[in-house]
């Protein structure tokens, strides 16, 4: 297993702790007087998303997590799973829907996703930051209101509910930020 010293810790590094993969999301160096220095880290569990705090003696070495990422295109969906394909190797991968959690609303065919593997097993599916989607259901817009300041709910082709400006109509295509589900603009 490849190891890393606390001195090399960086935000974004993926490490293995108690046999689980974590992402370093915070790293503070503290040193009391002439005493023992410590690294106080915040770690996000790569599967559950839970954030924990962990303090290390500076200079301690810990394992890097065996994490790989690959871009795969969504082929089709099955009742309990989703099938992706690697554009280069044509390898296919079936991902159970249980791994998707609330990301199921961002699944679109023919779109490229980042699949994260831990020890060779897929652990999460990351959608592109921005997606263009059709509106399939929303209340009729008010003519004349083009300020965009007042919002209403709208349902997209994937079933996601997005708050859009009043002037957006059914059948229109919009751009959505998948990180927070917010409306970015009309396409």
């Amino acid at each position: 297993m490849v190891q890393v010293s606390t001195n090399e810790f960086k935000i974004g590094m993926k490490v293995e702790i108690d046999r689980d993969p974590y992402l370093i999301v915070g790293n503070d160096f503290v040193k009391p007087g002439k005493g023992q220095p410590f690294n106080r880290t915040k770690l996000k569990h790569l599967i559950s998303g839970r954030v924990i705090e962990r303090t290390f003696k500076s200079g301690e070495r810990i394992d890097l997590a065996d994490i790989e990422e690959s871009k795969m295109r969504l082929l089709y969906r099955e009742p309990e799973s989703v099938v992706f394909m690697n554009d280069v190797t044509f390898d296919q991968l079936t991902v159970p829907k249980s791994l998707l959690a609330n990301k199921e609303q961002w699944l679109m065919e023919e779109t490229l996703y980042s699949i994260i593997f831990y020890k060779g097993q897929p652990i999460s599916v990351e959608p592109p930051t921005f997606l263009e989607m059709n509106i399939v259901e929303t209340t009729p817009g008010l003519r004349g209101d083009s300020s965009g300041r007042v919002l209403k709910p709208a349902k997209t082709e994937t079933g996601a509910i997005v708050q859009v400006p009043l002037f957006i109509e059914e059948g229109e295509k919009i751009k959505v930020d998948t990180r927070d589900g917010s409306y970015v603009g009309r396409v």
């Binding site: 503070d28 040193k31 007087g33 002439k34 106080r40 962990r54 303090t55």
Partner: protein, 322 residues
């Protein structure tokens, strides 16, 4: 060459102003400025301070001082005068918003001055930067009882571990009491020391180079630290003068270094010999100039007190590494 941003040039001007203020502070008190060399043949020995090694062209090894302490003490032994030094010091493996591998330290020694007077002088020095501030004095024990509800002198390592268990690995249960106390202090006490605070009466295990005396039946170090906004600003001692005890402590630090998987160093015999000739009864303190300036300028990262002129001798693009 690009013109410095107004912020960076402001920092430069403030640094220069405060260099002057510091010199005036000591001149008014008849403390002599000295400049002990930064490049030393023998390093100082601290378990947790990593000295930078320099390889000279003739193959000899030398070390950049992590503080001018040994050199200044040799001068004290030889001349017995009050002295101060303002210098760049070097400590490897120290990187963070409040730590840089190179920083500016103001260190001074006063002979035959009572410890409490010396603490007051240190506070007045700090007030040069922070303005008029009342100071609170807390013993190490009071600070831990107040903020962590733990008595540092009587708690077992197990109790210390349990009080922080959530953020620690199971292996931390095997850390020694000193390590656990230092962690507890830095995460549960330091952040609360927002007002100007002096912490005194450290456990004797944390004496470093200070004298140890009995207080209420417990051996405590005659050491103090000054905090403001949760940041450590100065570390002072009633200096240990006993050459034998000094030698024993250096050997102990070397043993700790070996236990930590670090290299041990030969003792600085010149320094020990000077102590044998007699170090005057004196107090000494080292204060972080860059942190003080940072606080004066209202910053929370050391860059605010250092400015771009001190990019650790590296280009801008690498600065964010530190």
């Amino acid at each position: 060459m690009t013109a410095p941003t107004s912020d960076a040039s402001n920092i430069l001007e403030k640094r220069a102003q405060f260099f002057e203020k510091v010199r005036r502070f000591f001149k008014n008190r008849s403390v002599l400025e000295v400049d002990c060399p930064a490049l030393c043949a023998s390093p100082s020995i601290d378990a947790h301070i990593d000295v930078m090694e320099v390889l000279l062209i003739d193959g000899q090894r030398a070390y950049l001082h992590p503080s001018p302490e040994y050199g200044m003490k040799r001068l004290l032994c030889a001349y017995g005068k009050d002295i101060y030094q303002m210098s760049h010091v070097f400590r490897d493996n120290e990187n963070g918003p409040l730590h840089k591998p190179e920083f500016t330290l103001v260190e001074w020694y006063r002979c035959n001055m009572p410890f409490s007077f010396f603490i007051e002088e240190t506070l007045n020095f700090i007030r040069l930067f922070l303005g008029k501030q009342k100071a609170i004095i807390l013993t190490y024990r009071e600070a831990l009882m107040r903020y962590a509800r733990i008595d540092p002198f009587h708690a077992s390592p197990q109790e210390l571990y349990s009080s922080m268990q959530e953020g620690l690995s199971p292996e931390a249960a095997l850390w020694d009491k000193e390590t656990l106390l230092q962690l507890l202090f830095s995460i549960h006490v330091e952040p609360h020391l927002k007002e100007l605070t002096v912490v005194i009466d450290y456990p004797k295990e944390q004496a470093a180079l200070s004298r140890v005396s009995m207080k209420e039946g417990i051996e405590v170090a005659e050491r103090f630290e000054v905090y403001y906004k949760g940041i450590e600003l100065a570390n002072g001692y009633h200096e240990l003068a006993d050459a034998k005890e000094q030698r024993a402590r250096l050997c102990k630090e070397n043993e700790k270094r070996i236990a930590l998987g670090k290299s041990s160093f030969p003792l600085d015999e010149g320094f020990l010999h000077a102590l044998e000739q007699g170090l005057p009864d004196c107090c000494g303190v080292a204060a972080g100039f860059d942190r003080l300036l940072m606080l004066h300028l209202g910053g929370a990262r050391l860059e605010k007190g250092i400015g771009h002129a001190h990019g650790h001798g590296r280009g801008h693009e690498r600065e964010e590494l530190f």
